[in-house]
Symmetry: C2
């Protein structure tokens, strides 16, 4: 186990080393460390070297001039100026919340950004202000629409955060695919097969080959196949792509540039917009209903669902419960970084002359 | 085949017969006939007798005083006064669009309503105004959250309509379950088994019993089981329930009253809010970006997806394509109403002394 606070400090220093301001470095590190604390290991410091590679490839501006390029009282489009999505998305969320404060809701589409980490982080920013928060992003193509043999969509996650009263907040945060690509990578490392319903092969047939996505196949949309509603997962992922990419003027569909770690496809030669796109929103609870009444009903909702009779050995969970359990444990016991991630941090430490946190420290 | 226009006239007369104004009757009939035209037979005139039963049970006010009970410039909550959801939802959508015209976006939560028909109808109202339309509703509990043995959610559909330029609009409209309950009813009528991944039995085990929902089991969320992402479908259906029910002050979760046709559960004794809830939204395209630029990019998106290489014998579809194909054909050839539906129309015709359309007419 590694101390989350020491890994956080290390991460901040790496972002400063590539030219970020201390403020931006702290924010970017906070997004990554929160992913690790929440148990979303694939989106935490495991990706730090990837962000540095984005910088090395000239795709990341460490000191972006983020600006609003179009707006109405409740909507805006933001140009992220090739900044870290980890910094651009919270900026956009704050714009959405400011608009929500004034007119009830705020919706911000973002162009010219990069990978923004976990969607749930950005959606959650709204909770403390008694707002419902939304966050989505498009991503490089790994996913096949229903009946397609070609990968045209990213894993395009959606997060929705909803405040409660005595109960912790509701926070759903999920890729619009059957599984996140990180789960395929785990199977690849272990040499295991994938369950049917996660991927298809290059001809579009079901397969248990965990390497299928690298071999011309694709991740399946949520639902898996047509009979089980894959057209719904496809429709949802497509809507995320359009709101994030087409609405903002970013790239969309197969043109979305890869995050630096996705080594098996490069940046498309044609660009139909600028960088990666996001879509963020905030709605004031009291734009609809008395805040306290709402919170009392949310508590009732949560308690009712949590107490439902469960399948043997399981329990009904509220979206966000799993992340909270991880966080409670990891704040005490630290982060279980795997060997490859530690190696990548050591390389960064050597390159930038930053001391790497030690195990158990 | 039955002439859509004659069935429409009949439907209008039935709504007038239970006391609706001609204007409301026309609107309600338009929603139902559009479902039939679009091939969503389960949500068309097949449900007309159900709306009349709602009226017979005193749950439907044919002349509702629909009103805004809370608002900000971009948000509102509407009390549907126990009106037809078929009428209340378009009213709410118009409020959302009016707000969008003024401040860029409009979001309306609705309490005290009833079943609103197909979500896509309401979302589509935004398209002609160059807005993106959203429509959701909660519904009586048929669906089990991941690991739950108890049904706590409705099939809670989401529709998102997005305008394009030369291409027809993008319109995703889907229940947040593996399949709509209507598909189970078809299997029941034919005495067929269900594919694994659609339903579970009373103990929470996978089953192919098409009657499982009636026998203590439940419909599975989109994704099917935990391994294939059912927690995502559950999270999505839950968010729809909260936005429609908790945010508006309607009933939510297991307390949502059944649509009159769902005979195997009654209205819950405890009511935690008023009636059924909906959530509707509209966002002006030019609140984010030049309209013509957006439409040109939407056309590019649609053409790119439509032309992707497909699995043998199939083609990649754009959300909305299937409904458009049905509509083109049925406007010419008529509606293929099944025997049971025709019987239910005949009963209504006898009761209200209205001439029922004849086959082939």
């Amino acid at each position: 186990m590694y101390s989350a606070e020491k890994v956080r400090k290390f991460t901040e220093k790496v972002f400063v080393a590539i030219g970020c301001t201390l403020k931006d470095a702290r924010l970017a590190a906070d997004v990554l460390i929160n992913a690790d604390l929440n148990g979303v290991d694939s989106h935490g410091v495991a990706r730090l070297a990837g962000y540095v590679r984005l910088y090395d490839h000239g795709r990341l501006n460490p000191v972006p001039q983020i600006k609003i390029i179009h707006e109405t009282p409740s909507t805006a489009t933001i140009d992220g100026d090739r900044g870290l999505g980890l910094v651009v998305a919270p900026y956009a969320m704050k714009v959405a919340m400011k608009k929500a404060k004034k007119v009830g809701s705020g919706w911000v589409s973002v162009q010219n950004s990069n990978h923004f980490g976990i969607a749930g982080y950005h959606a959650s920013l709204a909770l403390a202000e008694d707002m419902i928060g939304w966050a989505m992003t498009n991503a490089a193509p790994l996913v096949v629409p229903t009946f397609s043999r070609e990968k045209l969509l990213g894993t395009n996650p959606i997060a929705i955060g909803i405040p409660a009263g005595e109960q912790p907040a509701f926070l759903a945060d999920f890729a619009t695919t059957a599984v996140a690509y990180g789960k395929m990578e785990i199977l690849q490392r272990k040499g295991l097969k994938a369950p049917i319903g996660w991927v298809q092969d290059a001809e579009g047939a079901p397969t248990d080959n965990a390497n299928a996505v690298k071999e011309g196949g694709g991740l399946l949309p949520l639902g898996g196949d047509r009979e089980h509603g894959s057209h719904k997962g496809y429709g949802l992922g497509a809507a995320v792509d359009i709101l994030s990419g087409v609405l903002s003027g970013a790239n969309f569909g197969p043109w979305v540039p890869p995050f630096a770690t996705a080594g098996f496809h490069g940046v498309a030669e044609e660009q139909v917009g600028k960088g990666t796109g996001h879509f963020l929103g905030a709605m004031r609870i009291d734009g609809f209903r008395d805040k306290l009444e709402f919170k009392a009903h949310m508590d009732k909702w949560i308690e009712r669902f949590r107490s439902a009779p469960a399948v043997d050995g399981e329990q009904v969970q509220i979206p966000g419960d799993q992340e909270r359990r991880f966080k409670a444990e990891r704040l005490i016991h630290g982060l279980p970084l795997n060997e490859k991630v530690v190696e990548s941090l050591q390389e960064l430490g050597e390159r930038f002359k930053i001391k790497v946190p030690k195990k158990g420290a």
